[in-house]
Subunit: 160 residues, 2 copies
């Protein structure tokens, strides 16, 4: 399971979006037909996506790694303490696809994305993202510069 590539998908006048075949193929074989969308925890305007399995696995890691094995029990009971996994669950929605891979984008996500006629789907390996195409272009340009800097930095370190 590794989401790759960036694909521009049209939003039709019925509000439907296609999950590209390249991404559908990365969903677990026993759970095609549905996946999870959730708001970015720290960047408004980004919607994240993953298989149900992948999303649940991330929550699990979050519970164990961030809170420790005992913390997860506490999170299950303590309604006062902040629970990051619970927060993400609340911001997430399970999305059922039509047989051809299309789904209707819930308005809450359409709003943060501020989509009009197209959505950019971006593979991030363990998950994918949905972007407003223009905002993605700006982000990609800035990331490209950071990547070049990062690569240059690597060679320096090997000499040191």
């Amino acid at each position: 399971m590794a989401f790759r590539s960036e694909i521009l998908i049209k939003l039709d006048r019925k509000g439907r979006v296609l999950l590209p075949a390249a991404f559908r193929d990365e969903l677990p074989a026993d759970d095609r037909g549905a996946f999870v969308l959730y708001h970015s925890p720290n960047v408004p305007g980004i919607v994240n996506g993953n298989s149900r399995l992948g999303f649940d696995a991330m929550l699990e890691r979050l519970r164990v790694e961030a809170l420790g094995p005992k913390g997860s029990l506490k999170a299950a009971l303590d309604d006062e303490a902040f629970d990051p996994a619970g927060y993400l669950s609340a911001s997430a929605r399970t999305i059922a696809m039509e047989p051809d891979g299309r789904f209707s984008l819930p308005v809450e996500f359409a709003q943060t994305l501020e989509v009009d006629e197209g959505v950019m789907l971006v593979g991030k390996g363990d998950k994918f993202q949905m972007w407003n195409p223009k905002r993605w272009q700006a982000r990609r340009d800035s990331d490209r510069a950071k990547m070049a800097t990062f690569v240059r930095g690597l060679s320096d370190r090997s000499d040191a």
Copy 2:
């Protein structure tokens, strides 16, 4: 797994390219049939290729290098920080081959390469590259001179 030699391959009028047998043989035995292409992180005009395994291994090293072993949870959640592995995933595509080893070159790669009728496939050991033949010739000539200088420099350094 070691990609060697440089091979000129035709691009047919359907946009198909053959992954030469010499390179196909270097793919993992349990994962022939598909591989990964991705844009060079810092040189426009170069397309890199590797097995899925090789690509994923590189991403893994990247994550460790960039974030440290504990950084993976942060990378999975933080949509604001620059994530080199995520950047590469977005610039990559999984390519399925026909049984005879051919694949249709995605337009995004055909564009950066500016190919017309031929692509140069170049083995780089742990990965391979696709080049516009003319650009590759220029690069090879410049590399040849650099290599001679480099080899000459080696003896001095080893004595020091």
